[in-house]
Symmetry: C2
């Protein structure tokens, strides 16, 4: 297969972890006779510095004409103190999601047996946890009308959803449930919000198309509790944009492997793959960042190309690196630690 | 002191736990020479059954003319399957909050040394946890304009906040911080929402009135993570209605004492005190429910009357009941367990 992949390294440790994912993907391509054309483009603070826009037109053109986007991380501390600044790296993220139509954010949370004791939760609570959130990513209160009234004394934001938006997200949820344990949980606040009632009635109406899927409906506050109490009781969860923002972050820390969690953002055609961690500026340039979340995001990309063997090969070599202790300092505890680039080299070599 | 207290027992185990709080309050009143006039009134499913309204006018009249409201729990399983039903117990809750002007929901999360191992989190993560959320309770997306458009195909909800609403909540937060460790965290999503930007700028402007308070600003998704990772790093947190709904529930399970957590909802004059647990219909009528959360809510009520000795006396006797094993079956593990009413009697007697 010939693949064009846009490469958005971004800020901080982004370029370093992306470089390792590239090595691993190239090794996979070599082994399975594919050819990857990497197409680097600017984003985040790096793009603001270069052209004053965190998601420039040229970058969008490259992404939109590629088969997938591999994304590092964005964000720079100089933007931290003023969340309302006109030009911010995160705006690039939102613009990109919208312009590429990436309406479904897929965020798995699972445990690595060798890392389970890093979780803040007790072992018996998380053993067997293997859940995946589908967060709606281009609608809701993130993209509704917002502004000020009364000379700035009143502020408002609007959460809007159409039935179609709910359907296309829910469809992905049902399909994912069919491939997994056939359990789907719709997370909403239907006892208060009209948009949540639309979510619930839309999903309810779709149940008959997937008679094998067992669907449950839970309120967002209850899920925020149960995720901490019994994360392993969930499988596929679907939810709207803002609830998904909060709950996927909460879910990511329970496994204790937050730094290793991959993600995908999917649209009708193109997909974007990125680690869930941020740009971690303190570690930038030190060759110490853990590249595994980015490498595992690349595995999700191969899955979505239908290249399942290739994806499995990546996951296998990642597991081997963990069990053989070829890890960056964040996972090394008292043992020997490896540089970011060394882990990347090892993975590429042992694939 | 002569106190008029509205007594809203509500549904399920509500009446049983309220009955114990009444015994304890009466014992405190006896000891410290107060007189409490209890003023029972209907709410929740019980009120829907009786008069078709979960928060009837008569109930409101009783609450509004009392010094405080002691509240049990509301909710009945027959409402569970249809979150959009026209008349639901929760609507009583929302109506009550609004009509009584209960704009600040105070929810502490703390650990009991003897119960710490019940937490889903590891001991070292929660030891010393003693935080309190102030959730705005009468504004935001709960009370904004909502509805449908396009023949029901589009649904919307509006989150609105005025500077005054933020100020009065934040004021309570700063005052509480002054009485505690002088640390305040404002939780928002100011990188996306205009209402959050109003929150942040309003709190920032208030900082100079409380120069001793160290204020931090965190995004709601980050707080959802850190609450699980290091709950003991927080002290006072202030936030808007919906974020507060999600985060206070999340926080309540980390201590492992969820069934014991009290709460207060405060307005300009009257306060309402209630356990954070629900109506637990499965246990209703069995005399097995744990009354301690309701009893501790009553302690918060005495605190707010300025009757600190009385409040301490209640907390003391609760701690003694725990260390002497006078507990309901949920806390008894392998040991002897007591009935709801027996625990209430013991507390009243040993005060
Ligand atoms: C940076 C921010 C706008 C973004 C979001 O809220 O979607 C982030 O938290 C995420 O989850 O990707
Ligand atoms: C029942 C529901 C409307 C209510 C809320 O969301 O406020 C509840 O979850 C709470 O937190 O008191």
């Amino acid at each position: 297969m010939e693949l064009n992949i846009a490469l958005l390294a971004g800020d901080g440790i982004g370029p370093e972890v992306i470089a390792q994912a590239v090595k691993v993907c190239d090794a996979v391509a070599d082994k399975y006779n594919h050819k990857i054309h990497w197409r680097p483009a600017l984003t985040g603070a790096a793009a603001i510095d270069a052209v004053g826009d965190p998601y420039p037109e040229e970058t969008h053109a490259i992404c939109a004409s590629s088969d997938a986007v591999l994304f590092g991380a964005i964000g720079h501390p100089r933007f931290d103190n003023d969340p309302s600044a006109k030009v911010r790296p995160e705006q690039g993220l939102l613009k990109m999601r919208q312009k590429l139509g990436l309406f479904a954010n897929v965020r798995p949370t699972f445990t690595f047996p060798s890392l389970i004791d890093r979780s803040p939760l007790k072992r018996e609570r998380i053993e067997g946890t293997d859940l995946v959130f589908l967060r709606e990513l281009t609608g809701g209160i993130y993209f509704g009308k917002r502004g000020r009234e009364d000379d700035g004394e009143t502020a408002f934001d609007t959460c809007t959803y159409t039935r179609k938006e709910v359907q296309r997200l829910a469809k992905k949820g049902f399909e994912m449930a069919m491939k997994r344990s056939k359990k789907l949980c719709c997370v909403d606040k239907a006892n208060v919000l009209e948009s949540s009632r639309l979510w619930r009635e839309t999903v309810q109406a779709m149940e008959k198309e997937y008679p094998e899927v067992q669907v449950s409906y839970e309120f967002v506050d209850a899920v925020a509790m149960r995720l901490v109490q019994w994360p392993n009781s969930y499988d596929v969860l679907i939810t709207e944009n803002l609830f998904g923002d909060i709950l996927t972050d909460e879910a990511s820390v329970i496994s204790g492997s937050m730094g290793l969690m991959p993600s995908a953002s999917l649209g009708e055609s193109i997909g974007l793959y990125e680690p869930i961690h941020g740009s971690y500026p303190q570690a930038a340039g030190k060759d110490i960042a853990n590249p595994l979340a980015t490498v595992l995001s690349a595995a999700m990309m191969f899955d979505d190309f239908g290249l399942f063997q290739e994806a499995e090969a990546i996951r296998d070599v990642v597991n081997r690196s963990l069990s053989e202790g070829v890890v960056t300092e964040d996972l090394a505890d008292k043992g020997k630690s490896y540089k970011t680039s060394e882990v990347g080299n090892w993975l590429a070599k042992h694939l």
